[in-house]
Symmetry: C2
Subunit: 191 residues, 2 copies
Amino acid sequence: MSAISERRERERAHRHQLIITAARELAETEGWEAVTTRRLAERVEYSQPVLYSHFNGKDAIVSAVALAGFSELATQLRRARQAAGEPGPALRAVCRAYLRFATERPALYQAMFILPTDLTFASAETPPPLRAAFDEFVSCFHPDNDQRELFAEVTWSALHGMAVLSDSGRIPPDGQEQRLDFLVAQIADTP
Amino acid sequence: MSAISERRERERAHRHQLIITAARELAETEGWEAVTTRRLAERVEYSQPVLYSHFNGKDAIVSAVALAGFSELATQLRRARQAAGEPGPALRAVCRAYLRFATERPALYQAMFILPTDLTFASAETPPPLRAAFDEFVSCFHPDNDQRELFAEVTWSALHGMAVLSDSGRIPPDGQEQRLDFLVAQIADTP
DNA sequence: AAAGGATGTCTAGCGTTGCTAGAATGCCGG
DNA sequence: CCGGCATTCTAGCAACGCTAGACATCCTTT
């Protein structure tokens, strides 16, 4: 309980975060396949095994990056929704912000939705940032709509499909804007 | 040009197919992470390097499996669409068939849409089976609708998102039926 | 204040991966 | 029958995630 051990704990927490940001930067600049435990250890200027004193394995590191991504996504969506004001245009704004996030931060998006992670979704112990991001979609629908969760799930699914299929070249990346228009138009006009 | 060399060529083609089906079976029973070049070679009772005389690498093998998957998917969708008859219920039938395919053949679906492959989509040299599967969605909309490709892209995206998010537990797998209902209802009622 | 114990970090290495070079084997044409 | 070509195998490389055990460093206790 001495001051020294407090300092060590602080340093440890600092290094924990250092690993996460290093992994994220490496993934964003060179892609996730370049994020190996060796390169990551070299980057943070420690030996390989220290990674395993902070995380259970590589998946846990990816999960930590993904979690940070969900926080960021949630704030982006919230900002877009609040800037739109009315719930009508809000849906469009949130959807657009979502797709922008996916295209501008592909590595982060991969960690959140494609790579295997330890994160648990749609459950009691779902981390708050995940829930927060999802709730932004829910908030785009009227509170007295008892199907808004369902609507949000479908909207999210469609956006995710568009993001990932266009990113992998399975649908032409150009048409993203038109697809967004069509999707929002179809989803929005509901009783 | 002798009969012997013809036989060898025949055997070679046979072995080519053997590798593909072995990879597929292994993936379907134990998952793609169990499909290593060593296990695959053992399965076809040849040494490892023969795989590389047939395929450029592991990705090419996955691509071959994915291509077979697209053929199968195309016939499934076509069957569903033709059984429905009218273009109205056809959309729902095709969507349902798509989701069924994704859940019943997860390994195949992964090869087609998630794992890295050499397949090129939405291009001039897109393999016919890919185009055929996509066209089944297009055919669900009226021929004089000049946006039917766009509609098909969005529909496909939404289904893919639902399939992959529910498979990875990111949305509750139970609600799939309701989500399908909602999606079809929203997409279908268009001028 | 020195010994003992706990904590933390490193070097070294294990088993597995995708992939390949070079030896060995078998078949064809002259 | 024999040289040359094609095919297949054995053996191995570099890189991967991960871990055991040696070393060092600091804290506590007598």
